[in-house]
């Protein structure tokens, strides 16, 4: 068997596994819907929903059938991206019309924030070099501070900005400065930058990543094969770099769920027009199709990113292919 066909088979196997996971996860979500107390339809529709809309919802979520066939009906619609229509938030529009653009923005924000975090962690690890006792005086408190939940960081950040704005206005400014983090009607990209900073700084993301990268680097520096390369007189940089790819990719994929959690609340605080904001608003107004549609999108993203990470790992490290059989 050639390496390419082995890779292909490994990729197909993993894709099949990912699809299976997606089916399983969507089943968990569906069962959660069915487990609503009392009449499930009342739990998932806003107050005062007209009966014909209720009947449509019932049909869409398969609530008029037994859980299994209902799930199959719901899944076959969801699988092609049909999550029904928004009820309150944007009545008449399909969930995908409303949700997808917002979700793309959220994904970009979370993905870029995490990428920035990865780069910063790598730079930080290279800057700090080998672990040294005195560094703990820096990394210890750093750990302590950055473990703060992102929403608290966001609140403190926004309040700090507020305070700045007050001083700005008092000093003679008469309109909101362009860097104000909470855009009410603004098109500025600054709030996204602020949200990104908050995401990187909160939830222990940065220090956690930094520690992981440092441990990995240190392990490689001490590894026997690196010593062998050094003994040959060759440069070790490329060997270390190649062996860092797998842990970095894995680390990225493993931390994405954390960022996707943090981004929901951070978006809400900065009133960014993303999926997190949409999710919370829709949940508040009981716009159920949107809540479910976005939940599935979030779950699917985590599965797909893990799948991609698996494939990248297989491309870089032949042992990963063998492991897949």
């Amino acid at each position: 068997m050639t390496r390419a066909s082995l890779l292909l088979i490994a990729a197909l196997r993993r894709t099949a596994g990912g699809l299976l996971l997606l089916v399983g996860a969507s089943f968990v979500i569906y069962i959660t819907i069915r487990s609503a107390p009392g009449d499930a339809i009342d739990a998932i529709s806003p107050m005062g929903t007209p009966p014909e809309v209720k009947a449509k919802l019932m049909a869409e979520f398969g609530l008029d059938r037994d859980p299994l066939t209902g799930y199959v009906a719901w899944l076959s619609r969801s699988a092609v991206g049909d999550f029904g229509e928004s009820l309150v938030f944007a009545p008449g529009a399909t969930v995908m019309d409303v949700g997808l653009p917002a979700f793309e923005r959220t994904l970009a924000l979370a993905g870029l924030a995490l990428a920035a975090c990865l780069v910063l962690a790598l730079l930080g690890a290279l800057l700090l070099g080998r672990p040294h006792p005195r560094q703990q005086l820096v990394t210890g408190p750093l750990y302590f501070v950055t473990a703060a939940p992102s929403f608290v960081v966001a609140v403190l950040f926004a309040q700090g900005m507020n305070w700045f704005v007050h001083t700005y206005v008092e000093q003679g400014g008469y309109e909101t400065p362009p860097w104000y983090p909470i855009p009410i009607y603004s098109e500025s990209w600054m709030p996204y930058l602020f949200a990104g900073i908050v995401l990187v700084a909160g939830d222990g993301l940065f220090t956690d990543f930094l520690n992981a990268v440092r441990a990995e680097l240190q392990g490689l520096r001490n590894a026997q094969f690196i010593a062998a390369v050094r003994a040959k007189g060759a440069r070790t940089v490329s060997h270390i770099a190649r062996n860092m790819v797998v842990p970095l990719v894995s680390g990225y994929a493993a931390r994405l769920p954390i960022v996707l959690g943090g981004v929901v609340i951070v978006e809400y605080i900065f009133t960014l027009d993303g999926a997190g904001y949409l999710l919370l608003e829709a949940a508040r107004e009981r716009d159920f199709p949107i809540v479910v549609g976005l939940s599935v999108l979030f779950t699917a993203t985590i599965i797909v990113v893990n799948l991609l990470a698996d494939i990248v790992r297989a491309l870089v490290d032949p042992r990963e292919v063998a492991r897949g059989g």
Partner: protein, 273 residues
């Protein structure tokens, strides 16, 4: 030097944990009626001897609200940590020891739970079921089971590959004793404590975040650190103490618990070597 810094970290984070535990135990015994605490003559009084952390927009003492706010997450957090570690340890032991379809089933289930986006799933559950902090803590506990199971499974597999389990079966021990007592209780305890502190921190995070958002968390006038922080919406920069102290309390408690779990586990791991 290294040991000194680490000991300092362990002691300071241990102090945070001890204080939170103490206050959490005391809080239920402190009588507090949010309605009668309102005092419009004392609005937004700064920190003083009478009001350590000042008063909020309705003239309520911030310090006592901070103390009572612990109740919102304390017991659910502890129970969730206990439940998650217990279930996780069992699942990990089964996945590490069993073979064939049992192992595959447990691993598959763990992988399935692990793909659910935690916060999004909790919000989804809250929209469907009657939201309560016990429900949130219960869901959080289940969502953390895979993390813990992985840690325990790796330990079991490492020991199995060193013939540890086989040798002790040969000696006449029951597999359950080897797994539950030797491996989980004696060897995984520090790891489990770390995971339990993590789950506790997560429950605190979710409770405060949802209370901050306002729909599913603790509702005014009952105090929660989260809905106290939410006062920023009305107060903005005018008087920081009603929201700044709870915000700091959240940061210190979460960081303290996580750091304590981590440092404790690290110390135990080093002692094993």
């Amino acid at each position: 030097m290294e040991a000194k810094a680490e000991r300092l970290g362990l002691w300071s984070s241990g102090a945070v944990v001890a204080v939170v535990l103490l206050l959490g135990v005391v809080a239920p015994f402190v009588a507090y009626d949010p309605a009668s605490a309102v005092d419009y003559d004392q609005q937004l009084v700064g920190p003083s001897a009478a009001h350590w952390f000042g008063t909020d927009g309705q003239g309520r003492d911030v310090a006592i609200r901070l103390l009572k706010g612990i109740e919102a997450f304390f017991l659910p957090g502890l129970l969730a940590g206990l439940a998650a570690t217990t279930l996780g340890a069992l699942a990990g032991a089964i996945a590490g020891y069993a073979e064939g379809w049992v192992r595959s089933a447990v691993l598959g289930l763990m992988q399935l739970i692990d793909t659910l986006p935690r916060l999004v799933f909790i919000i989804l559950v809250c929209t469907i079921l009657n939201p309560s902090i016990s429900l949130i803590a219960g869901v959080a506990a289940v969502l953390f089971v895979p993390n813990i199971a992985t840690v325990v499974r790796r330990k079991v597999e490492a020991l199995a590959s060193e013939d540890y389990i086989l040798a002790h079966i040969a000696h006449g021990f029951r597999p359950t004793r080897i797994l539950l007592y030797h491996i989980i209780w004696l060897q995984c305890r520090p790891l489990l404590i770390r995971q339990a502190t993590y789950v506790f921190g997560y429950v605190l995070f979710v409770e405060t975040a949802l209370s901050y958002l306002g729909d599913y968390g603790v509702q005014e006038p009952t105090p929660s650190w989260g809905n106290m922080v939410a006062q920023t919406r009305e107060l903005a920069g005018a008087a920081p103490w009603p929201w700044l102290f709870p915000a700091l309390a959240i940061v210190i408690t979460i960081s303290g618990f996580l750091a304590f779990g981590n440092l404790l586990a690290r110390r135990e791991e080093e002692a094993l070597r």
